[in-house]
């Protein structure tokens, strides 16, 4: 059987279709965010907010177990994302606030929130009795399980993707202007401070929802590698955005297919495919 036939057969499985759809939506959101993250020199933000998601999931799981919702509520109510998303949102806004109000650099501000979130995650996961099944596997949370994505998660990702993509495209011109030169944009009436809070808040929500599928450890790569590869090839911010989306989506679909065909961990296959594109871009860069 040829590789193409294999691929077609692979994509016929519902779980593969869900994985491809979730991966593609995450790739689009992360690429749209990633171009601003890379150009604002905030590459560490992906790591920081992904670990905030870990802290939030830990708190969320603990709240569900201790409130008794595990036994009573439906699948949606039992999802720790209800706590993880607001927690990461507060973390994202907190990082933006520290950047805004202190003279600390971005990586320092992110590093503080990163450490606190991991500590909270470990603390709250450790308080859950080992015999209680909370529906959250810590190893899956860390390394991702995109092939195991369920319809509930896919629905949540789709809702966030529609909101985030609409907002990012609507604000793209002002975000790009403020990214180029914050002061210049402000003289033209762009509310760049508000946009920065919005960008951090959106990144927090997108990363938290995505990290539960892609994995916390690999999340930052989604945000950074497609945008970085696109930057090497692009001559304009618009083409960088378009290339980042194309690279993100195509490497995700290729990574999902390769992981199935060669029995590889899916998250690793996606990130390594992205890295391969980055290496090609770096070698073909025009000087």
């Amino acid at each position: 059987m040829s590789g193409l036939e294999d691929l077609i057969q692979v994509l016929a499985f519902p779980f593969m279709q869900r994985a491809a759809a979730a991966g593609a939506m995450i790739a689009v959101m992360c690429a749209l965010l990633g171009v601003f993250v890379v150009q604002r020199r905030l590459s560490f933000l992906g790591d920081g907010l992904a670990h905030a998601a870990f802290g939030g999931m830990g708190i969320g799981a603990f709240v569900i177990v201790s409130s008794g919702a595990l036994a009573q509520g439906g699948a949606l109510l039992r999802n720790p994302l209800w706590v993880a998303v607001p927690f990461a949102l507060l973390t994202g806004l907190g990082i933006a606030w520290v950047r805004d109000r202190t003279e600390l650099s971005s990586d320092t501000a992110i590093g503080v929130f990163f450490a606190v979130s991991v500590a909270l995650g470990v603390l709250f996961f450790s308080r859950i009795p080992p015999d209680v099944n909370i529906g959250v596997n810590v190893m899956d949370l860390l390394f991702g399980s995109i092939l195991a994505v369920r319809t509930t998660e896919l629905t949540i990702i789709a809702v966030v993707a529609v909101i985030a993509t609409t907002l990012l495209l609507a604000l793209w011109g002002r975000l790009a202007y403020a990214t180029f030169d914050d002061e210049l944009a402000r003289t033209d009436g762009v509310r760049s401070r508000l946009l920065e809070y919005l960008l951090f808040g959106l990144a927090a929500v997108v990363i938290t929802v995505s990290a539960t599928v892609v994995g916390i450890i690999l999340m930052a790569a989604y945000l950074v590698i497609p945008a970085a590869a696109a930057r090497i090839w692009a001559r304009s911010m618009a083409s960088m955005t378009l290339f980042a989306v194309l690279i993100g989506v195509s490497t995700t679909l290729a990574g999902v297919a390769l992981s199935y065909l060669f029995d590889l961990p899916t998250g690793s296959a996606i990130i390594l495919t992205q890295a391969l594109v980055f290496v090609v871009a770096a070698f073909t860069q025009r000087r």
Binding site: Q39, G173, Y177, T187, A234, S236, S239
Partner: protein
């Protein structure tokens, strides 16, 4: 005819055409700015009238760029206030053309000259400039002698070329007030000379008001119709010949540890 006489004449023409109460283009009143323990601006007041060319001079750390930020509404002073055309700067962005310091420019940002100029027209970053915007940007670039740079990446431009593109961006929508923060930093003598020439031509054509932060006292004396000598407070504001005197400069520059006005500047001013 000197630049000062020319621009004053222009201002008088405007004044006679509008006999009502004349609102200064830039009004700065008792402005005080403090960063922590440091008093950066103290009781700064002056009015800049239509058609004038103001040079803001002073030593490093004198508060020149802070004053620019206050004028543009980017920084709210703890005391006093500033107004452009009688209003907050944020209310009249379409009437202001701003050229920031080139040293703040991010060379990693993927952009072409035409895209930067179009930001001056639509006040957001263009994903794809329209045909009309491209034509307008091309005209603005031609006005500053940079029409060949249209599709050049900004990262590949020299300091002088970049300066022209920023100036084209600032004048693209023909603002009534052009404000430049040390535009000659990092460019050679000829590029600096070209800049003043372009500004004077723009001013002669449109009657616009220009204010510029500069370290070049000789250029301030030659090109400006008004000079503001600043070192936290105002040490002199008026005609270049009156303000750029040794005693005034000695006093202003001496406040930040200079024992004397740089010899080269004194020589240029005699």
């Amino acid at each position: 005819m000197s630049s000062a006489a020319r621009t004053d004449e222009g201002a008088q023409r405007v004044a006679s055409a509008a006999p009502q109460r004349r609102v200064p283009v830039l009004h700065v009143h008792n402005v005080g700015v403090r960063f922590g323990d440091a008093q950066v601006l103290d009781d700064v007041s002056f009015d800049l009238d239509e058609g004038q060319f103001l040079a803001i001079v002073g030593p490093n750390g004198a508060g020149k760029s802070t004053l620019v930020k206050v004028a543009l509404g980017l920084l709210r002073p703890q005391r006093g206030h500033a107004a452009l055309f009688g209003r907050d700067a944020g209310d009249v962005p379409e009437r202001i053309g701003y050229v920031p310091q080139l040293k703040t420019f991010d060379r990693t940002f993927p952009a072409t000259a035409v895209e930067l100029v179009v930001t001056g027209l639509r006040r957001s970053w263009p994903a794809r400039p329209s045909r009309r915007e491209r034509d307008q940007a091309h005209a603005a670039l031609a006005q500053v002698g940079a029409e060949t740079l249209v599709d050049r990446p900004l990262s590949r431009l020299s300091g002088g070329e970049l300066q022209r593109v920023y100036l084209a961006r600032a004048v693209a929508r023909e603002p009534a007030f052009v404000l430049l923060d040390e535009p000659a930093t990092g460019v050679d003598y000829l590029a600096e000379h070209d800049l003043y020439d372009l500004l004077e031509r723009y001013q002669a054509r449109t009657g616009a008001t220009v204010a510029m932060v500069t370290h070049d006292l000789a250029a301030a004396r030659y090109h400006a119709s008004r000079v503001l000598v600043l070192n936290r407070r105002v040490f002199g504001f008026g005609l270049p010949d009156d303000v750029l005197c040794d005693a005034c400069l000695q006093e202003a520059y001496g406040h930040v540890g200079h024992s004397h006005v740089p010899h080269t500047h004194r020589h240029a001013l005699r």
